[in-house]
């Protein structure tokens, strides 16, 4: 335990605080920097001012500054051996050192300069106060000493100013006086007015140590001091080493050339202070707080609460921006969340898959935040979806759901469609890359390759193209409307039934049985001979003629029974293998199967063909030109979309490009048409 440091502070002149620290190690660093063990807060003290080192049981003081800025026992020195007790002056501080026994740690005691020598204001106060003790002001007038000699000495001398003896005419006595008076010294000068108030203050507060009274001016001499410790604290001494170290000359203690001035009155330094009566940190803090509260209070008073609101209200809600209670129900108290009931009161929208798929239903405000600026609340981001879909918690593990989608470009699964299982008849989810199970089960015969053959005699405008049959809805382009026979097929596949009447066609969308009746009526109206011209025999001829014509027409339309010859209807339609006929119905005619073309392949997403007109159809439906079978599913796969809809692509990969959170009314999975004509779209 080489060092014991005792610090005394005086929060008020009457109050004293003492702090004792034991410092381990062989070196005690002294300086203004807080990394010093002995931290002296004064800008006249250097960051790393000095050290005291324990060397072989002895303590050596070393001043680290370029020129000595310290004095040990009144002598300016770069290095000194600390023996017994004494004082080290550094800046406004006096460090009293003592060592009760040769093996005891070096005890260093000092007083915080607060209320002793801190600011000019304190100085003035100190000066004006001691009316009862006029001499007390003298210590504070010491600075004019520097005119007598070494200016550096002035920094040391005020603190080192000895009691009473300073006024002595005896220069030797002045020189002999040490910078520090041992604790017992004040008692020794009892009876003599203590002119050094600063010193007296420190001395009077020094611990009452066992020092016998000494006669006036008998403070221990500085040089030489007996090396062997005598009674601790009775001896004050410094052993100089080397002898060449600078010491304070006599001249530095000479009386000033100027006459002693009057008591300090004018606070010159105060004129340069920042702090004024009103311009100070406390006042400014109060002003700042009041301004903030004022802004908040004004915001609360105005009809518009925009100043208080966490953000501007969305455009559609701006009409009742001042009616906070419309959403923030008074009964909910100080709550952030707005209950869904307030939203649903106006916005009745189906939830996500009927809300039953969410373990914890999301509040409306989770995605639609009203106080986030003048935005459209429906414009949420795909990130909202990823809250759940990045790690979907599925309670039933057998459910075929992709459980982690974080990114369209990478983790989005292959598109899937609902396809009826041919064995069970139940619909099942089939991905587009599942070639074995993916079949278009529409009951229709269509050869895309044949239709897209450029050599095919097409329309007057040229060869057939996709848009010759498929045209997107004019309304926003989201749905591809059904391809109808009349609009798409009739141009080439006109249902004529008789070359004699090329402009006569049968209607599309009727079963053969219905067309039989239609043809009979038609040919009755086409009988070319009037009753009068037939001469009364026309009725019999007419009946025969009509029957012949109907038979020919039906052979052309329906094919010839018992032969392989196919009719016009069978070009596209196929017979129903298990037709349902009413009892007693005519069974001469084949029943054509319903086309059963899916009304909409992707039930849970939206695709806007109108937004993709910059691309050719076959850029996405690339299999169409080679497709010969109706069973081919010509939908583009996910990789096709990723070509553009990627994080680095030209189109947004957001979930909401295709999906919606709120369930939308779905069309029937497959439109089972009674008539083969009602071909739904893709």
């Amino acid at each position: 335990m080489p060092f014991t440091v005792i610090v005394k502070r005086f929060p008020t002149p009457e109050q004293e605080e003492t702090q004792t620290k034991d410092i381990q190690g062989l070196t005690l660093r002294i300086g203004r920097g807080t990394d010093n063990e002995l931290h002296l807060e004064d800008h006249t003290v250097q960051l790393h001012h000095a050290v005291i080192q324990e060397v072989g049981g002895a303590y050596v003081f070393r001043d680290l500054s370029a020129v000595s800025l310290s004095a040990v026992n009144g002598k300016r020195t770069k290095e000194a051996l600390l023996i017994g007790a004494g004082g080290i002056a550094i800046g406004p501080y006096v460090l009293r050192f003592s060592r009760p026994t040769p093996k005891a740690p070096l005890c260093i005691e000092y007083e915080s300069p607060i209320h002793v020598l801190s600011t000019s204001r304190t100085l003035v106060g100190e000066i004006e106060r001691p009316a009862h003790d006029p001499d007390a002001t003298m210590a504070l007038r010491l600075p004019n000493w520097e005119q007598a000699g070494d200016p550096d000495a002035t920094r040391i001398l005020p603190a080192l100013r000895p009691t009473g003896a300073t006024r002595s005419d005896d220069p030797d006595a002045t020189r002999a006086l040490p910078a520090f008076r041992p604790p017992a010294a004040p008692q020794t000068v009892a009876g003599v007015p203590d002119v050094d108030k600063t010193m007296a203050l420190s001395v009077e507060r020094a611990p009452a140590q066992s020092a016998p009274p000494e006669p006036t001016k008998s403070v221990a001499p500085v040089v030489p001091a007996p090396p062997a410790p005598v009674a601790p604290l009775q001896q004050t001494g410094v052993e100089e080493r080397p002898p060449s170290l600078p010491t304070v000359s006599d001249d530095q203690f000479a009386e000033p050339a100027f006459e002693r001035p009057a008591i300090l009155k004018i606070p010159f330094a105060a004129a340069y202070r920042l702090e004024g009566r009103f311009l100070n940190k406390a006042t400014l803090s109060v002003v700042g707080a009041v301004v903030v509260l004022g802004i908040a209070a004004m915001g609360a008073m105005f009809d518009s609460k925009a100043v208080l609101m966490p953000g501007e209200v969305s455009a559609k809600h701006a009409s009742f921006v001042n009616e906070c209670v419309r959403c923030h129900l008074p009964t909910s108290g100080m709550r952030t969340a707005v209950p869904d009931s307030t939203c649903v009161a106006c916005h009745k929208s189906p939830m996500h898959f009927g809300d039953h798929s969410l373990a914890e239903p999301l509040a409306c405000t989770a995605c639609h935040m009203v106080h986030k600026g003048n935005t459209i609340l429906a414009s949420t981001t795909g990130n909202d979806c990823l809250r759940c879909h990045a790690d979907l918690k599925v309670t039933n593990p057998t459910v075929d759901i992709h459980r982690s989608i974080t990114d369209f470009g990478v983790t989005h699964p292959e598109f899937a469609v609902m396809v009826k299982d041919p064995e069970t008849g139940h619909e099942r989810r089939v991905r587009l890359d599942d070639a074995d199970r993916l079949t278009d089960q529409a009951k229709i015969k269509l050869n895309h390759k044949l239709h897209l053959d450029p050599d095919l005699p097409g329309l007057a405008s040229g060869p057939l193209q996709c848009v010759s049959c498929h045209q997107a809805s004019e309304r926003k382009g989201y749905l591809m409307p059904p391809v109808t026979f009349d609009r798409a097929c009739a141009q080439c596949h006109a249902l004529t039934m008789d070359s004699k009447f090329p402009d006569k066609t049968v209607p599309h969308g009727r079963q053969p049985r219905e067309l039989d009746l239609y043809l009979k009526v038609l040919y009755t109206s086409l009988w070319p001979v009037s009753d009068e011209a037939a001469g009364g025999k026309a009725a019999a001829k007419e009946k025969v003629w009509i029957a012949e014509q109907v038979e020919k027409a039906e052979e052309k339309l329906f094919g010839k029974k018992g032969t392989r010859k196919r009719g016009q209807c069978q070009l596209c339609h196929m017979p129903d293998p298990s037709p349902l006929r009413e009892p007693g119905a005519d069974d001469r005619f084949t029943v054509l199967a319903a086309t059963a073309i899916p009304g909409r392949w992707f039930l849970n997403s939206n695709f806007n063909h109108a937004a993709h007109t910059m691309e050719k159809c076959i850029a996405c439906h690339d299999a169409a030109p080679q497709s010969e079978a109706t069973t081919d599913v010509l939908l583009p796969k996910v990789k096709t979309c990723r070509a553009c809809h990627d994080a680095d692509g030209t189109a947004s990969p957001s979930c909401l490009e295709c999906h919606l959170f709120h369930e939308i009314p779905k069309p029937k999975q497959a439109q089972t048409q009674k008539s083969p004509d009602a071909n739904p779209p893709n």
């Binding site: 001035p261 009057a262 010159f268 707080a289 990130n383």
Partner: protein, 278 residues
């Protein structure tokens, strides 16, 4: 310049801690912003807000800790080092809390005040890194308290010289006295303009030389002594002003930093009150 400064206190421990925390904040925010729309009301947003509030309270606690001389709760230098880096981190935490949404409201006002506090703190840090070495350069000269007493001595020595002299002489004396008792502190003007309030030594010399021929010959000797005191005082005042200017520089930034901190505390209180309503 940074050796031994608060920036590298404790082997740069707070610098490293702040760097790690900053990286963690950025990383977590990237993940957070990727999965959802950032705002103060989401759970991560609230966590950022709570962190920011805790940081602000810790930052404000420095004002108490540095006055607690007997406290063993770390060193003041350590607190200041942490104060600096934690203050910088709040400039990340609070915008992340808000999801980088700002507007003309009390919430953004709180953030603006935070920015003012941090920027003024950085300015103060720059001053504390540059000014004290200059102030230490005055060690060779008299310190303000000594200059003050010396100036008083000079001013009081002028009085007997001017006593019983002509009006011009006495007016000059009273001018000197008048200058000494300036009622309004000059500190801010001196800081902002960078000009010393008194005339330079040369200008003062010229002025005195101009006055001397206007006085009767019998007063010349006294006026010469008086002039010497005036010039001495001018020089002393220049030294005093130079030192006080540096001392003031170390204090001036606090006139923004501290009031803005208090205003920030109030604004944060208003923010909390309001957001829990909305």
């Amino acid at each position: 310049m940074l050796d031994g400064s608060v920036l590298v206190y404790g082997g740069k421990r707070y610098l490293f801690m702040a760097a790690l925390t900053g990286a963690a904040l950025v990383g977590s925010y990237v993940l957070y912003a990727r999965d959802t729309t950032p705002s103060g009301g989401t759970l991560p947003g609230l966590v950022y807000g709570a962190l920011g509030l805790a940081a602000i309270l810790i930052l404000l606690f420095l004002g108490i800790r540095k006055r607690s001389y007997a406290s063993h709760l770390g060193t003041v230098k350590g607190w200041v080092s942490a104060h600096i880096y934690l203050g910088l981190l709040t400039l990340m935490m609070i915008p992340m809390h808000a999801g980088f949404h700002f507007g003309w409201d009390v919430h953004t006002l709180a953030f603006v005040l935070l920015v003012v506090v941090v920027l003024s703190g950085l300015f103060g840090l720059a001053l504390y890194l540059t000014v004290p070495p200059k102030l230490t350069g005055y060690e060779g000269e008299m310190l303000p308290d000594k200059i003050e007493s010396e100036l008083n001595r000079i001013v009081s020595a002028m009085k007997p010289l001017a006593a019983g002299k002509t009006g011009l002489f006495q007016r000059l004396y009273f001018e000197e006295i008048g200058r000494a008792v300036a009622t309004t502190p000059q500190g801010w003007r001196m800081l902002l303009t960078g000009r010393k309030p008194f005339l330079a030594l040369a200008a003062r010399t010229q002025e005195l030389n101009r006055i001397l021929p206007q006085l009767p010959g019998s007063e010349h000797e006294a006026f010469t002594q008086f002039s010497a005191l005036v010039l001495q005082r001018t020089e002393m005042e220049s030294r005093l002003a130079g030192q006080m200017r540096l001392k003031n520089a170390l204090q001036a930034w606090l006139y923004v930093h501290v009031p803005a901190s208090i205003a920030l505390l109030v604004a944060v209180g208003v923010h909390l009150l309001v957001v829990f309503y909305y």
